[in-house]
C-alpha cells in the first residue's frame, strides 16, 4: 500500500510514549465506543504508485479522445500554448494556500493583482475580484450583488446558456428571490418583452450573455440602455476570447461583467477546474464578492500586495456577508494570466478573429449542403445553430472519424470552431457530412 507518512514505526511508538499513551486507540478516547469503526473500510487495499498509475491510466483510456472538436456550448477547445501548461504546475504555486500571510505570498498576490488588471483591460471595467468557481456561479453572484431591499427580482435572457439559467435559479431559490426569463425572438433577447418586464420597478438586475447561447451577438448597448432607463443594473456574461475584439461590457454600459474563463488556457477536462471571472465599476467595488488583492506598502516603504477589503467577506461578516465564497480558482486565474501574457493583445485578437473566421467558413460550407441552413440570421461569433437532416447520423459519422461534431439542440446541430482546427480538417468534416446527407 502507498503511504505518505514519513515517521517510522519506531518513531511513532516513541511519539506515542512521549505523550503518555500506549496505543493509537487511546488518541480517540473522546469517540464513543458505539460509533468507533471497529472494522476495515469496504474500499480496495492500498497500492503502490506504479499500480495506481496503471489503474487510473486505464480509466483515462476508457474515454474516447476526439482529435478534432467542433462542439462548444460553454466549454471551448482553444489552443493552449505550452508554457501555459508548465507555469501553473510549479510546486510553489500549486501547493500554497490562500495568501493570508502576505510576507510569504507575494508571488501569488502579485499574480492575482496582475490577473485582476488583465480582466479589467479585457472587460473595460474598473475592478475585478480574484476569481469565483465558474462563469455560471459568477452570474449568480452578480445577480445577488444587484439586489437591495426594494428591488429583489432578477431577469435573465432566454438566450443564456441553460446551465447558467439553472444555476442563477438555484441561487435565487436559496435566497427566496424571484427569477424571470426574458423571452427570445429570432435567437436574440426580445427587447419589447424586456421593456415590459422592467415596468414594475421591482427588477434589481438583468443578465444577458454575449455572444449568447446560440452564438449570436446581442444588441448589448441597446439592452443596457433599456435596463438603465428602468433603474435596474445590467450584467453581461461574456466570452473572454471574444472580448479581445468585441465591444467591451464597459462600452455597453454594463454594471457588472462576468464570464467563463476556461477558454483562457484551461483544457476541457470534462468540465473543470474552470474559472469564473467577475468585474464591476468603481461604484460597486465594495459589493463585489470574493477575494480581492490590493496594492500597498510594507514597513520598509516598498510596494507590496495584500488581500484587501476583507471586511466584506464571510470570515468577518458571517451571516451578514453577501456571499459565502472562500476558496476560489486561484490556480486557474494564474493560468489565465499566463495565457493572456503569452498571447498578448495581438495573439488574443488573432485567436478571436480566427475562431470567428473558421466558424463562418464552416457555416458557409455546411449551408451549401442540401437541407442545411442557419436557424437564425444575425451576426455570430464562433458558434452557430444549423437545421440539418439526419442529425444523429451526421454526428455518429463524424465521431467515427475522430471528430466531435456540434451539440444536438432542438433537432438541429449547434457547431463551434476555434483557431485550433485547420481548414483541411473543416473541409474533411464537411465532406463527411456531405456523404451522410447524400
Amino acid at each position: 500500500m502507498g503511504s505518505y507518512i514519513p515517521s517510522t514505526a519506531a518513531q511513532r511508538q516513541e511519539m506515542l510514549k512521549a505523550i503518555g499513551l500506549e496505543d493509537f486507540r487511546q488518541l480517540y478516547k473522546d469517540v464513543p465506543g458505539e460509533m468507533y469503526l471497529d472494522r476495515e473500510l469496504d474500499i480496495p487495499s492500498g497500492k503502490s504508485e506504479l499500480e495506481v498509475c496503471r489503474e487510473v491510466s486505464s480509466m483515462a483510456a476508457g474515454n474516447k479522445v476526439f482529435p478534432t472538436v467542433l462542439r462548444g456550448a460553454g466549454a471551448y477547445d482553444h489552443y493552449i500554448p505550452s508554457i501555459v501548461r508548465y507555469i501553473p504546475a510549479k510546486e510553489e504555486f500549486l501547493t500554497a494556500y490562500t495568501p493570508y500571510q502576505a510576507e510569504l505570498s507575494q508571488g501569488i498576490l502579485q499574480s492575482i493583482f496582475e490577473y485582476q488588471t488583465m480582466v479589467c483591460e479585457l472587460t473595460g471595467m474598473d475592478v475585478s475580484n480574484a476569481s469565483v468557481y465558474d462563469g455560471a456561479t459568477a452570474a449568480a453572484e452578480a445577480a445577488a450583488m444587484c439586489r437591495d431591499r426594494k428591488r429583489r427580482v432578477t431577469l435573465i435572457s432566454a438566450t443564456t446558456h441553460p446551465d447558467v439559467i439553472n444555476i442563477v435559479r438555484t441561487y435565487c431559490y436559496g435566497t427566496n428571490d424571484e427569477l424571470r426569463i426574458v423571452p427570445a425572438k429570432d435567437g436574440k433577447t426580445d427587447k419589447e418583452e424586456l421593456r415590459k418586464m422592467l415596468e414594475g420597478g421591482d427588477v434589481s438586475g438583468v443578465y444577458v450573455q454575449q455572444p449568447n447561447f446560440f452564438g449570436l451577438f446581442e444588441d448589448a448597448g441597446e439592452l443596457g440602455q433599456i435596463v438603465h432607463e428602468a433603474g435596474s443594473m445590467f450584467i453581461m456574461g461574456c466570452n473572454p476570447i471574444a472580448l479581445a475584439i468585441m465591444k467591451t461590457p464597459a462600452e455597453c454600459g454594463a454594471d457588472i461583467a462576468v464570464g467563463e474563463g476556461q477558454p483562457l488556457g484551461m483544457p476541457l477536462s470534462y468540465g473543470g477546474p474552470y474559472l469564473g471571472f467577475m468585474a464591476t465599476t468603481a461604484k460597486y467595488m465594495r459589493k463585489l464578492p470574493g477575494r480581492i488583492v490590493g496594492q500597498t506598502t510594507d514597513s520598509r516603504g516598498e510596494r507590496c500586495f495584500v488581500l484587501s477589503l476583507q471586511a466584506r467577506e464571510q470570515h468577518i461578516r458571517r451571516e451578514k456577508a453577501s456571499s459565502n465564497i472562500c476558496s476560489n480558482e486561484a490556480l486557474c486565474a494564474l493560468t489565465a494570466g499566463v495565457y493572456m501574457a503569452t498571447m498578448g493583445p495581438d495573439g488574443m485578437a488573432q485567436a478571436a478573429s480566427q475562431s470567428m473566421s473558421k466558424a463562418h467558413y464552416l457555416a458557409k460550407e455546411l449551408c451549401k449542403l442540401k437541407g442545411v441552413s442557419l436557424r437564425f440570421k444575425g451576426d455570430f461569433f464562433h458558434e452557430f445553430l444549423t437545421d440539418i437532416p439526419k442529425a444523429d447520423e451526421v454526428l455518429k459519422a463524424l465521431e467515427d472519424n475522430g471528430i466531435l461534431g456540434g451539440l444536438p439542440v432542438d433537432g438541429g446541430i449547434f457547431w463551434c470552431a476555434t483557431e485550433k482546427v485547420p481548414k483541411a480538417e473543416l473541409d474533411r468534416a464537411v465532406s463527411i457530412v456531405r456523404e451522410v446527407l447524400a
Binding site: 473522546d30 483515462a60 495581438d346
Partner: protein, 466 residues
C-alpha cells in the same frame, strides 16, 4: 519586483498561432471594441522568467512546514498531478456523448463509492467547486427536503459560535435565519443552549466534528438525536475530517448530509486558494435532491456547470486508491498523533487552550503570554516566518483570544515537529528578552509587514499605465 506590465515592450510577442487559413472575417463596426486591451507584450523568455521570479516569492507545502490550522496542508503527491494531466481526461469535452466518457464516469463512480463508505453516506455529488460551495449545496438539500414535505415552518439553522464563517454565511444564502448558539468552554456544543434553540422552526444544525478547537465532541450522538427529535436535519462540515477518516464516520454520528474538502483531506493541492472540490454526500432519503446539469436535462437544483472540478476528483481518487482501506485510517491516526506530539513538545511555554488530547489540530492561547510580554499572537506568527515556518491559523476560532492554531498533518516527520517545537520554545524565550524584535518581525522575509489599513482605505486594485 516589477509587475508584468512594467516588463512589457511595445511590439514584442510570442509566436503561437499560424496565419489564418480561411477568409478572415472582421467584426462590424458597432460590434468591435474601440481599442485593444492593454495586455503585456512579452517574449516567451520574459513570461517564463517573470513567473519563475513570482514563484520564488511563494511558500508552498513543498517549501517547508505549513501547519495552517483547519486547512490540512498535507503533502500533495506528484502522481496525483500526473494522473490529472492525462490527455484521456484533459481533452474530454463535458458534453461529449456518454459512450465516449466512460473513463470519467469510472472516476466519479469510484470516488462516490469510496467516499460514501468513508463517510457513511449513500449518495454523493462532485458538482460543488469548494467547501463553502458544498455547504451551500448541502443546506439546499435540507431546504428542499422540508419543502417537499410542505413543512414551511422551518426557517432557522443553528450554528455554534465556534463555527467557520462560511457556516452562517451559507445558511443566510439559503434563506435561513441563523441562530448562533454559544459553545461550552471547550468549543463543544452546549447541550442546554442547543435545547433552548431547538423547536418546530428548526430546519437544521451545521456542525464541524472534531470542532474548530480540535476537540471531538463526545456528545455527538445526543446532539444529532436532539435535532432529529424536533424534525431538523444535521449537516456535517467536513473541514476536519482528516482527524477521523476511517476511524469514525459522520453517517454513524447521525449526520444526514456532509461536505468534504477534497483539497484538504484527500491531498489535492490548494493552488494558492483554489481550485478545490467540495463533494457533498447525503443519506438515501436526500438523494433525490442532489444537483444535476440542466443542459443534460436535469430539472432540479444545479450549483455549477457540468460535473464540477473533475480533475480535482481525479487527484483525490488517485490518492484514495494509493492509501486504500489501510492507509486512510492510518493517515488520520498519524495526523492526530503528530498534533498531540507537537502540542506536548510546545507545552510548558505556549499553553494549549485545553489541556487534553486533541485531534488533528490544537489551539494555543497566548493571552497570558501577551499580558506578560506585550508580544501578540500576530508577532509570534510573523517571527515564525523568519524561521522558515508558515504561521499557524491566527485569531481563530473567535472564542479564544490571541489564538494560534497549528495543524501539522500526518505527512510531517518527527524531526520536522521537533525542529518546529524548538523554534516555538525559542520564540517564547525571545519574547522575554527582546520583545521589540518580535514586534517588528519578520526581518528576513521578502517584504516587511504590509500596511493593510492603507490598502483598505485607498484601494488600488489594478495596475494603470501612467
Amino acid at each position: 519586483m516589477k509587475l508584468i506590465f512594467e516588463k512589457s515592450t511595445q511590439g514584442r510577442s510570442c509566436s503561437i498561432l499560424p496565419p489564418c487559413d480561411v477568409e478572415q472575417i472582421e467584426l462590424k463596426e458597432g460590434l468591435a471594441r474601440k481599442t485593444k486591451p492593454d495586455l503585456p507584450q512579452l517574449s516567451e523568455t520574459d513570461v517564463s522568467r517573470h513567473y519563475t521570479e513570482l514563484c520564488n516569492r511563494v511558500h508552498g507545502v513543498n517549501n517547508g512546514f505549513y501547519p495552517l490550522g483547519s486547512c490540512t496542508m498535507k503533502y500533495n503527491p506528484r502522481i496525483d498531478e500526473q494522473m490529472a494531466a492525462l490527455e484521456g481526461f484533459t481533452s474530454i469535452h463535458p458534453l461529449a456523448p456518454d459512450y465516449s466518457t466512460k473513463g470519467c464516469k469510472a472516476v466519479l463512480d469510484t470516488a462516490e463509492k469510496c467516499l460514501c463508505e468513508i463517510t457513511g453516506m449513500d449518495g454523493m455529488t462532485f458538482q460543488p467547486a469548494a467547501g463553502a460551495h458544498g455547504e451551500f449545496t448541502g443546506v439546499l438539500l435540507i431546504k428542499q427536503y422540508h419543502a417537499s414535505r410542505n413543512d414551511t415552518r422551518r426557517t432557522k439553522i443553528i450554528v455554534p459560535d465556534s463555527a467557520h464563517g462560511t457556516n452562517p454565511a451559507t445558511a443566510a444564502m439559503c434563506g435561513f435565519e441563523v441562530v448562533n448558539i454559544p459553545s461550552a468552554p471547550d468549543g463543544c456544543v452546549d447541550l442546554q443552549a442547543l435545547k433552548g434553540a431547538l423547536g418546530e422552526d428548526t430546519a437544521g444544525l451545521m456542525l464541524t466534528n472534531p470542532n474548530t478547537l480540535g476537540i471531538f465532541d463526545e456528545n455527538i450522538l445526543e446532539i444529532t438525536r436532539m435535532v432529529h427529535e424536533v424534525g431538523g436535519l444535521c449537516y456535517y462540515d467536513g473541514a476536519n475530517l482528516n482527524a477521523v477518516m476511517g476511524v469514525v464516520r459522520p453517517g454513524d454520528m447521525g449526520f444526514d448530509c456532509i461536505h468534504l474538502n477534497l483539497h484538504k483531506t484527500f491531498a489535492t493541492p490548494h493552488g494558492g486558494g483554489g481550485p478545490g472540490a467540495g463533494a457533498v454526500g447525503c443519506k438515501a432519503f436526500l438523494r433525490a435532491f442532489l444537483p444535476g446539469s440542466a443542459i443534460k436535462g436535469h430539472e432540479g437544483i444545479q450549483v455549477r456547470s457540468f460535473a464540477g472540478n473533475f480533475l480535482v476528483v481525479v487527484k483525490a481518487v488517485t490518492y484514495i486508491l494509493t492509501l486504500g482501506k489501510e492507509g486512510i485510517p492510518e493517515a488520520a491516526r498519524n495526523a492526530v498523533l503528530n498534533a498531540n506530539y507537537l502540542m506536548r513538545r510546545i507545552q510548558g511555554t505556549f499553553e494549549p487552550a485545553f489541556d487534553r488530547i486533541c485531534m488533528h489540530e490544537f489551539v494555543l492561547d497566548l493571552s497570558r503570554f501577551k499580558e506578560e510580554t506585550g508580544v501578540s499572537a500576530l508577532d509570534v506568527a510573523k517571527s515564525l516566518i523568519d524561521r522558515g515556518i508558515h504561521p499557524p491559523t491566527m485569531y481563530f476560532p473567535l472564542i479564544v483570544h490571541e489564538a494560534l492554531m497549528p495543524e501539522p498533518t500526518e505527512t510531517e516527520s518527527k524531526e520536522t515537529l521537533d525542529e518546529a517545537a524548538d523554534i516555538f520554545r525559542e520564540l517564547y524565550e525571545l519574547a522575554r528578552k527582546d520583545p521589540d524584535y518580535m514586534k517588528s518581525s519578520p526581518h528576513n522575509a521578502q517584504i516587511g509587514r504590509p500596511d493593510e489599513v492603507q490598502a483598505a482605505r485607498n484601494p488600488i486594485l489594478r495596475w494603470k499605465r501612467t
